[in-house]
Assembly symmetry: C2
Homo-oligomer: 216 residues x 2
Amino acid sequence: MSVGSVRSNSGKRTEPKEKRRLQLIQATIRSIARHGLSDTTVSTVSTAAGLSQGIINLHFQSKEKLLLETLAYIVDEYKILWEKALKEAGDSSAERLAALLQVDFHPRVCDRNKLSVWFAFWAESKSRPTYRKLCAGRDKEYDAVIFELCKNIISEGKYSGIDAELAARGLSALTEGLWLDMLVNPRNMSRDYARKVSMAYLFHLFPRHYPELNKE
Amino acid sequence: MSVGSVRSNSGKRTEPKEKRRLQLIQATIRSIARHGLSDTTVSTVSTAAGLSQGIINLHFQSKEKLLLETLAYIVDEYKILWEKALKEAGDSSAERLAALLQVDFHPRVCDRNKLSVWFAFWAESKSRPTYRKLCAGRDKEYDAVIFELCKNIISEGKYSGIDAELAARGLSALTEGLWLDMLVNPRNMSRDYARKVSMAYLFHLFPRHYPELNKE
DNA sequence: ATAATGAATGAACAATCATTCATTTACTAT
DNA sequence: ATAGTAAATGAATGATTGTTCATTCATTAT
């Protein structure tokens, strides 16, 4: 993924390899969003990129590999974003958990084109183990972090009657469900409202840790 | 959908029209679950049904119409299930809301093959208005009912600091997210556990209405 | 039994798809 | 400038797809 010492020569007919690959991946995202995965063909992608038919087999060996790298690109971007958020967040578990949710509703993550890609691959993950494995990496780490944070908050706040795992699983499922609503029915679910729904859940779980949420 | 006065002649080579159509719809569900929507062809469906190639264009005019009717079938089944649950439920809003969640995690709804179909069409709904419209009907009614129930429970229980719409949207998003987890990672999310996550959410929202949930 | 009906078949067809590769084009080094 | 290298093209290819339809077959009515 390193761009390295690539000279800036945008618009030229021949671009450096990594730049073309990225361009094609982004064109793939747009094509999946516009036509759906079923109707995404080599032709729709290369047209979206403004390039020729053969370009895909030149830079990726096959259409299937392009699709896999497109999924990997989105998974990677998401992971980088929330790892960065964790680094920059404060020390308290409550802050760190809130920071994670900020990422989940960040414009770069909630972009409707990218959501199309997430759900396109999730939908086919049952029949394609390769897709599932790529996504499973994300889930495992992410869920573990959220679980730890919930556990800390519960013991810090001496909350009784809250199971950390139930709360954590609920939180991550809630996020996924809100993503789906934003994808399918964007008029009824904006990014900002989704964030509010998610924060309301946090407030009801841990009222003493998120008192300010009650006033929004 | 009325089977009417159809004589039972299972196994015969020529079945009544409605029976064949249902058989093909169920084969389509299995095919989408097994191969994904992208790789579901007329051939995979007819093979899954144990019938010949031409059968699909005979009973449905095209593959596209078969897919639409398959989605409509699942949407319909779900609607019938939760309308029936509402009729049979008690009068209190708390009971009625719990009854709805029971349906959401009913084996007939959470069947992994059917979840594959839901998500396959949701994933493509952005590019196919026809799919979105079919699903939108479900969402609108369902969300309205959940919202009303939440509103009633809030006023009954004099809960302060809970916005009914935030709670309702959260509840329906949570369900969808749990469905996704059951589809993508069934080992980590069973039907029973999903139900528990969802009930825990209810308990934290309305603790005085669902005291028993805290002991499970 | 026989004829009539229509459901089911599957080979054939046209369209669409991913992939290949000989050719063209652009950039770099000398 | 020129040769050499790499990138990009797009027509051609073979495989796959949805659809059609003449034929076969099972059931029903006479």
